[in-house]
Amino acid sequence: MPPSLNQRLIESYTSQPSRLPEHIRNHLPEIWGEQELILYAMADLDPQLRLQEQWVLLGNRDLCFVRKDSSRESLCRISRSDISTIHETADISGYRWRVIGKDPSLPPLIEIHFSRRQQRCLENIRLMLEAELPTETDPELADRAYSDSLSEPIRDAQAAIRGDQKAVIWRLLSYLKPYKKDLWIGGLAAVFLTALSLVPPRVSGLLIDGIEARTPSSELWKYLGYLAGAYLLHTLFVWVRLSRMAYMGERVAHDIRTQVYAHLQTLSLRFFTRKQTGSIISRCSSDTDRLWDFIAFGVIEVALSILMLLGLGTVLMMLDWRLGLLLTLPVPFILFSFVLHGRKMQHIFLKAFRKWSDLTSVLSGTIPGIRVVKAFHQEERETQRFLHCNDECLHTFTQVHKVWTRFWPSLTFCFHVITLSVYFFALPRLTGDTSPAISIGTFVTFLLYAGMFMQPLQTIGQMTRMMNRAVSSAHRIFEILDTEPHIPENVDQIKIPRLEGRIQLENVRFSYDGVRQVIKDISLELQPGEMVGLVGPSGAGKSTLIQLMVRFYDPSAGRILIDGHDLRELDMGSYRTQVGMVLQEPYLFHGSIRENIAYGMEDAEPASIVEAARAAHAHEFICKLPQAYETVIGERGQTLSGGERQRISIARAILHNPRILILDEATSNVDTETERKIQDALDRLISGRTVIAIAHRLSTLRRADRLLVLKDGKLVESGTHEELLKIDQGVFKGLYDMQQELHQTFVI
């Protein structure tokens, strides 16, 4: 079976086997008899913390440790029934496991060490052992779990497609298919252009020879006519080439941008949480722009430069092979000097980039935090810190300039030497001292051609850098395009025109990373029109549960039913239009208040918008703004206060009239007066809908019909406010008492 992408990543980057070695796999029946291999991992450190290869194998009955020494393989087999627990110690750069037997007063059954690289794989084994999860018998699970766990950080950091450079270039060029005509016209224009640029030097030479030979004027005017024609055609082809290629490049970049953005909309939240916002934005903007440059000019420029060099070389050799050799022989050396110079510049540029990064980190740290800087009177210190980084930058960039300002004059000097050599060898032939003689016209032609050598050499010298930049951008873009939506859509989806709002969770489990269970076997039912409060300490899984209910993620196990239908079978478009969310940090788009309230309902009547705003207690403050509902609010609504932004988001939810309403800490970031107003607005919003509300201030959930208390991903308590308070040592009572105590302290 060919290795999967993940296995290839492991082989390329970690220099450890991408799967359990065959010889161990083949010996498994001898090692532990007839049992399935469920999971395996590698413990890569020995007790002295030296690198080693020890395999940890989990079977139906046994946990096995197989060490691959240079000379022998040692084995330790422990029955799973003899293991009581595994003590894991997280060190600064690694982990230790002590496998504890049934009698904790005895030494551990085995102690192993491993680096952080192996942690996910081993965590899978520990979870499987401790949770006694049902053991799947999928024969590929062990390989998949191992390769997924080991390759995930690499995949997250790098483009998920590690194709070779050629494949990426071909894929990129496939975007030119719809523009074949432009490509042909532009390409041919470029070829003619190159050929035409060889004409003027030759004609000039003939003209000079003609003058010297006292050729009739009519003949000379003919040469001038050729020159004029060549220049005219040259201009025409320049225009055709530039315009065709520039338009085509722009259209290709436009196509890629559209495709990338449309694909982004289909991707699940998991993708967006894995990648930084800035990185995604740059893929849609600067990366596509870089591709435009490459497609429009890069490909053709390089091809033409090679063509030009070949053309020049051929013409020169045909004119006079002796002088031709003088000009063409140094070409490989000059190209090599470009490569060396490129490497040196890359090395020193990396240093400059490093220094630049220090400088920008000072800026990005202090500008957003300028209030803190001023409050702690650290202006002078920050100025000195910046000054230091700035000086360092200056020093490094001086080195950069020193390198290139030495290289280019040296190269120009080389060309001068070559030109002088041409003179040196040509002069005796021009004066007739040596043979074969050479005409002045041919000599001038030579000099003009010599002047044309520099540009194509420069372009070819920069080819590697340009290709690398384009491939890197293409890679980053293709990563998005090749990312499959984590939430697959079924073909036959059920559309429910009007939800009742019944929500059922059946043995729902969920893990973000496939290892740590965030939701552990939760079952519950919400009746239509019921208001339920989700309560629990931070990290209990409240927000995750909500994200599962709106299908931002699918459960790892179990299912969620909406009005009796599996959520995975519902049409997401029709479902989500009937679900409203009011979040702790309401997100407002750059645009008018009207557009923000009517987001997703562009045809909403002004009267409905005003009505929704009134219900959300937003109408009053909106009318006080200079352009009322048409007032444009800045990026993310920063021109409004937190409470105002929240009330606009509530108005948005009211206008959408959702059947299921989710309130995630909707009032936690506002003052008491604003909270009262928002609470009042929410009270109007919740009537007649199924409502799931998360709130840290437990008093705000008094209106809830039922409270569900989560802790460590489990549903631990359920009941009304009063019922839960009666549970002695209960989680809810503990949280409530703590808040009361805090409140008392404030009152005092």
Partner: protein, 153 residues
């Protein structure tokens, strides 16, 4: 006040002697780079701090011995002895190095730069969170120094 006492449980875990008997603890060095071996928080399985040591000198000889042994384990990193190559790939910087534990290849993100430590050495964190310490530039062999030079501030 009596000195805190450390001991090993039969299962090999480090433990602190409390009024209720020995309780397993893990060591959390507060300043692993600027004050190594000092300001140590000893926490139980629930993550609650049972003892805070400003210095191991607060312990008796036997406990200090146990503590130092545990410290050497818990703060161990890959010590880079030489660098064979540092290559830039898409979004990644790929390192081939020889460490005190053997040869190793690892990757860092392109904007993840080596961090200078107070003793002049540098700390590198790879994609998995493994830590690598490399000596100051002048202590490295010429090739390693050449490869490492552009990456430090």
């Amino acid at each position: 006040m009596s000195k805190p006492t450390l001991l090993h449980l039969p299962n090999g875990q480090l433990a602190l002697q409390t009024d209720d008997g020995p309780e397993a603890v893990t060591l959390s060095p507060c300043f692993p780079w600027t004050a190594p071996g000092k300001f140590l928080s000893l926490r139980n399985a629930e993550g609650k701090e049972l003892c805070f040591l400003e210095s191991p000198d607060e312990l008796d000889e036997a406990s200090r011995c146990l503590l130092n042994k545990e410290l050497s384990q818990s703060t161990a990193t890959f010590q880079i002895e030489s660098i064979q190559s540092v290559k830039k790939e898409i979004e990644l910087r790929c390192w081939e190095v020889t460490t005190s534990r053997g040869t190793r290849s690892f990757q860092t993100e392109l904007d993840e730069w080596p961090r200078a430590l107070p003793d002049g050495s540098f700390l590198i964190e790879d994609l998995f969170g493994d830590l690598y310490v490399i000596s100051a530039l002048e202590k490295l062999d010429p090739l390693s120094a050449k490869l490492f030079w552009p990456l430090i501030g």
